[in-house]
Symmetry: C2
Subunit: 82 residues, 2 copies
């Protein structure tokens, strides 16, 4: 059993209104030190595979078929043994 940690982030050229709203809220709370906020997704998958490479392939398929929108988002996969 492997655990895949997938980081999904908006591409740099894409506006992030959710991050902008959080940034404004932090400014209103007095946290002026924060200059930018970008919000992405962190997805943990438990994968039943024979080896790391196979687990990575499953995670990649899951990302490109469903979890990430490759037009707007980048994803990074890390596989750990469980």
């Amino acid at each position: 059993m492997y655990k895949a940690t997938v980081n999904i982030t908006l591409r740099k050229s894409i506006l992030d209104p959710q991050g902008k709203a959080a940034h404004n809220a932090l400014k209103n709370l007095g946290l002026k030190e924060v200059d930018q906020v970008r919000i992405g997704k962190l997805i943990e998958l438990d994968i039943d595979a024979d080896n790391k490479e196979e687990a990575h392939k499953v995670a990649e398929t899951a990302c490109s078929k469903l979890l990430a929108n490759e037009v707007m988002e980048d994803f990074e996969i890390e596989i750990h043994e469980n």
Copy 2:
């Protein structure tokens, strides 16, 4: 300038309906190898601070005041120099 990467995950005891929906969708797409899906948030903050410790403090305040709900979520902060 520092970059804080904040991983926000639902606590283990908390049900994750979004993850469950993604899991079912992956099963329907034929990815039977995936056993569990949990979805959290990945937040990137650009922080203007004099040193790493100060940047960490700002990120921690941002998390506990706004970004994370500590009743249901855990957060982890990593600080990198920019």
